[in-house]
Symmetry: C2
Subunit: 346 residues, 2 copies
């Protein structure tokens, strides 16, 4: 903005308090002074109306979205779902990236709350360090958690059916004749990864198969981290027959590693990824995925938050949106097993 109330007051030849009263629209000010202030504000291009407004109504008509990494297409699509929903109600969207770090998350939330939002949609970076989120909830600040859940009461949480989705992915691999199935995700600090790991374990347990520790790999949230873990996994003494990649960037990491290491998919390694991407059906082989309703996650979270901001005091809910298996070529039938062996696993 640049132009301050002080500038307006100086040009109008009135006190700062008078200029502030005129511009905020309350208190008594003489008609003459009022005209001078308006004229000065117009000349200087001073545009504080909504700020002044928000002092009176307590509303900023802005919603904050706090996510791990806005560059991740998952969060970008979710942001679009939020944005499309709130724009019709005259709201703007502030977006903060936390680098999946609870300290950055705390400072983003402190900054946004102290300042300029009517409510927050948060994908919590850590299921352990979230006292800054608990505080918001205690203070009845409108908050909705999205994509991830926390072990706290009193807040709406919108997530997908992570356990079931991961179970479907691994069960699909088992049915195609794979037994040695690895799990690759980013950090277990993130609740969705823990839930997807739970689904992975359940699917193996159902078939009486053991969990091999060297097949469980977790790292950081970047493609590069996924790549490094995948290279390490695929260089082990016993290479798995299949990988379940628990998110989009991990899927890319596995694909890059397999390419660089000349490991054929699905001939030498099967792959199922959690999260659908634009290009998974363009790759050769096409990549089997668990599709999530990403746009809808944003939409439902935004609708719920708007209701909370409007004063809805009904009991908070945990809403789970369904995932869906899209079978493609990367999980083709295991070529190294006989029909009988496959039937046995089935």
């Amino acid at each position: 903005m640049g132009v301050t109330i002080n500038d307006v007051a100086a040009l109008a030849g009135v006190s700062r308090a008078t200029a502030a009263r005129v511009l905020a629209g309350y208190g008594y000010v003489s008609e003459e002074a009022r005209q001078k202030v308006y004229e000065a504000a117009r000349q200087l291009g001073y545009r504080p109306h909504s700020i002044a407004q928000s002092m009176v109504t307590g509303r900023t008509k802005t919603i904050g979205l706090v996510v791990g990494d806005i560059e991740n297409p998952f969060f970008a699509k979710m942001a679009r779902g939020v944005s499309d929903t709130i724009i019709h109600e005259g709201y703007n969207l502030i977006v903060c990236s936390t680098n999946e770090n609870p300290i950055d998350e705390r400072s983003a939330i402190d900054g946004l709350c102290r300042k300029k939002v009517d409510g927050l949609i948060i994908a919590p970076a850590s299921r352990r360090e979230h006292s800054h989120i608990d505080e918001l909830i205690e203070h009845k600040f409108p908050v909705v958690l999205v994509d991830r859940v926390l072990d706290v009461a009193g807040v709406d949480m919108i997530a997908v059916t992570n356990v079931e989705g991961a179970f479907d992915a691994v069960k699909h691999l088992l049915e195609r004749g794979y037994r040695e199935i690895a799990f690759l995700s980013d950090s277990f600090e993130i609740s969705s990864n823990v839930e997807r790991f739970e689904g992975y374990k359940r699917a193996l347990a159902e078939k009486g198969l053991p969990i091999r520790e060297d097949y469980i790999r977790t790292g950081s949230y970047t493609v590069e981290a996924g790549y490094r873990e995948a290279v390490s996994l695929l260089s082990g003494t016993v290479r798995p027959e299949a990988v379940f990649a628990a998110n989009n960037f991990m899927t890319i990491g596995v694909l890059r590693a397999a390419k660089d290491m000349h490991i054929a998919i699905p001939g030498q390694l099967a792959l199922v990824g959690f999260d659908e991407m634009d290009w998974l059906e363009l790759v050769s082989p096409t990549i089997t995925a668990i599709a999530q309703p990403v746009y809808e996650l944003g939409q439902v979270a935004a609708q719920r938050l708007l209701r909370r901001i409007a004063g809805d005091m009904t009991r908070p809910e945990v809403i789970r949106l369904s995932t869906r298996l899209i079978p493609r070529e990367s999980s083709g039938v295991n070529p190294v097993r006989t029909e009988e062996e496959i039937d046995e696993v089935r």
Copy 2:
């Protein structure tokens, strides 16, 4: 926020004007009333300090980013570049999607400016309808244009070398033996598409090749629009030998169309896309692209805007960041031409 100044005033048992004066930190109020207001604000969780602050300083410590579609990975990555840059200066980012529509753009800008930003980074949706941007510039509101330029003075513009990048793409196809080269972009309302078309024309003109109107296809900014144009283009009586897709979503549109129509790339159709994507080297064939420094676009635009907000009055500049050709398999040598024919085009 929910809690208003009225609520605080009511609980404190003072007038609204008194509560507002206390919370905004100006004007005389008795110590007793001040204590009552603070106590009421604390009990109610009222947090207007920064809003009050911004009335006094005229600063909101927020920057607005106005782009066509936040869901597009190009803009998501640019947003990340902006966000990472401004966060160190204590700024937050508001993001608005305009659907590449100047009317939505105008209302986004009106909303953001009247309200809550110290400056704006805009990727203008239209090179013709931009009076709302001109107005900002006339009023000396801090603005930086990004990705796209306008025919106006007095504003910094950060874009890539679109003409040169497109020239490189088409020249590369010519050198690989292709002559019948089509151009696919979204709307010519967007300056970068016009510039890329200019580069396309120059490369053909340099070889004395004609511009075929039925090879020039423009549509809307979505993958679906790119797909429809590509299907139409590839179903024509004379199918081009190659396509230059002028952005990431057009590239996806061509890939989908070729796949659905069983047209082999590069055997039956060569492809070069403007804009690098994560997965272009994972596809088979890998896809030749013109890489743009997307993150840096956001970074440079943000740095420039922060300088303008800080009062830098130096002459505005147009900064062009360089693009780079990444040759891959999708533009392999044309199999239907003899060496001599290829040399002739070279």
